[in-house]
Assembly symmetry: D2
Homo-oligomer: 248 residues x 4
């Protein structure tokens, strides 16, 4: 069954900075969407949305028809409406997959789902990033080179203030010697979350074939249709049908 994907991007850099627009002519969301279709073909139906859209393009109806949401943001986290964030959180807890990318570590949706500051160390000197797989049998690592070599990237380094992840899939190193838990997974409610740090507005990382492969793997992994169909209404009140246990 086709995976319904929505790529969300704040879309501010591309519309205000010509040098960024030159790197991502179709927007960061456009490059990501293109990459997913390239790798997954007919297995996926990809739409995009941005901050400027009505309700940021994240209406109840749109989310109800989304299996996996990808999130890219950087300088406009504050402009995302709290009500929309609560709506996205509810959908994740109900089973929608979520991929949070790069500077999305500081997004409202990510910090709300994890509960921590999600802060990290950084430096932008165009260093080489090597992305090493530490969980080779994890579906997200399928067919991924060990390491992925990204010639020029912003450095993200520890300490990354996140809860202990369910799975640590990738660890990156940088020219400067820093390390970073660059691919980590979390489960929240019925939803799967994958954070992946490579990707920046100043570097063409989302055109990198290996990065596209990882994102495609992440979409497959986070797709709720690939897991048991659970009753999305988690029991929060006593179930009369179970009372018989008491009376046995």
């Amino acid at each position: 069954m086709t995976i319904r994907v929505l790529v969300w991007n704040e879309g501010v850099h591309e519309s205000t900075q010509p040098d960024i627009a030159a790197i991502y002519p179709a927007g960061i969301h456009g490059a990501i969407a293109e990459g997913l279709t390239e790798v997954l073909g007919d297995d996926v139906a990809v739409r995009t949305a941005t901050l400027a859209d009505p309700e940021h393009g994240l209406s109840e109806d749109t989310l109800a028809q989304t299996d996996v949401l990808l999130w890219w943001g950087h300088i406009a986290h504050d402009q995302v409406d709290d009500e929309v964030v609560a709506r996205v959180q509810r959908h994740v807890l109900s089973g929608m997959g979520l991929l949070v990318l790069h500077s999305g570590h500081f997004s409202k949706i990510f910090t709300r789902l994890l509960g921590t500051t999600c802060s990290l160390n950084w430096r932008n000197e165009g260093e080489r990033e090597l992305v090493w797989t530490v969980a080779p049998t994890h579906p997200i690592a399928e067919g991924v080179e060990h390491p992925i070599v990204i010639e020029h990237q912003e450095m993200y380094g520890e300490l990354f203030d996140i809860p202990t992840p369910d799975d640590l899939v990738f660890i990156s190193s940088f020219t400067g010697g820093e390390v970073f838990r660059s691919g980590v997974t979390f489960t929240r409610g019925h939803g799967r979350i994958f954070y992946f740090s490579p990707g920046d507005q100043e570097y063409p990382v989302y055109f990198h074939p290996q990065i596209r492969r990882v994102l495609a793997n992440g979409v497959r992994w986070a797709n709720p249709a690939a897991r048991p169909a659970v009753d999305r209404s988690i029991p929060a009140v006593a179930n009369p049908d179970r009372e018989w246990y008491l009376s046995r």
Copy 2:
């Protein structure tokens, strides 16, 4: 060094329902505070605060002088001010310990730190609860009977919608046959969190010697002074002192 403890209770049941006040004449917070002092003696200095206090008794100054906060709430979660919740969260992420008790599973502070609904199954029939230790070398299990027997309790049952805990310390069963992960720990930022489900306004659970022992153990375990003194300002910007790695 004395552990500075603050026991917070919404304090609504005791002030509006005479039958509850009869069970907890000094309030639920009073019973908990008494128990901590009983077990820990001079190792602890215990204060209390309630919803009705100015700023709910959780001012910046008070929190700055608190090592471990205990939280009991039930029917007034909505009345807790969002600003105060954000303040408590900030202190937990900076290292303050937090014990969340029983119906506090639905408190704003707990759901904010965990990111999930924290819902569960329940039934109030005064059933026997058995609390089994599954992590016998965990400091919170020190000197605790296996199992703890609570003659009459509200049933809390799975599914408990929480992230995978760092440590699963206790699992409870009830007369009706239900099970519950009744003692679980989480780390968020520099702070340690312990959720413990036994305890209800309708039963004198907080006078139970074994329950008092567990809470005292939890306070010791969550005390930040017992752990490395970390720089509470998690690095969120590039550190110029580290630039030399790049130039080496």
Copy 3:
């Protein structure tokens, strides 16, 4: 692609105790194999092997053609040849799935893979066991009732001396009030391991439709073909192809 399953049973009870043979006329392995075929149909090709077979039916050639191995043993753990155990361990580390059942907790293969005593508390009084799902989106919980009711079973209770599992899928309670982590998963090397406690020679548990469902789910989950094809030779020596990183 068909999953190649091998059900291993020591097969001692059935051949020496008529009362057990009456419960499991085709052997415990026969009942398990029948159940897997019943649920999975053509998706699975099931063979069986027992202690009495040459090399216990676990030759290098047989294991090389096995995707998932199920293991049931009880009173003859000591009679399993150490060389065969080492061989099975090697195959698990290389990716073969392993389901360890009930009293198999004390088997050589399970204790070797986990490193602990794997001891537990027990009592055989034919009590009712309730198996509760605590990870509803886990593939092993797909389509499973909450709880599974087993009318008569041997009690297995905590403390279960195992390392912290990767996933805690099921927790059981018993008439006597004990609890047990009855469904737990581990990853060792490239192989997935699922331990599931329900099942005993004195009770017809392996004919229970829900238990059969869980075992079938476990086989699907542990099947290495469902995960990335990894190079089974984990790198243990320097890779000359990587030397260029040093010289860059």
Copy 4:
């Protein structure tokens, strides 16, 4: 109470290779023992033992008087007697702490406790190793620089074939760009295990003040006296005292 520490070293390099003996004149065990005493002073009583000693210096009596054992081995893993390994494993499961160092990753005791190959990638070119803390509130990270800088070291790189650790405390990077989970903890039975990779016979790593600090922290953390006194006989048979639960 004084922590009784035993530093075990196979001691082969120092006695057969003059260049190694020049680096570690008192043996690797001597340097480690000196470092522990330097940092911990009277809090610790340190003895040493080597492969050449009767029973490798690991008699039942010696282990019974050991709180924490440190293990260094490299080229003589095969010469360690299986019976002694089983004895050490039993003591770890009963609560004795264990620190496994550097090339000890391939030791019999480590692979037996973890169940995996414990293999890794390596290259010996005297590269700079940076050891980054990713769990700043972990007791083992107390007072440790971020990062520790080791000017010359053997490279250990991923994939490190271990089970998911309880705690990931340190991640290292190397001049060549490789990364490694260099500080990881495990619990097995009642015992705590800490693996720490820095340390090699060809480099004076065990004289590095920061490495000495980490090992001292590890000893404190693994000391069973710092945790609840558990009944070391894990229940493996039915306890008649619990039968009353059934009859209630």
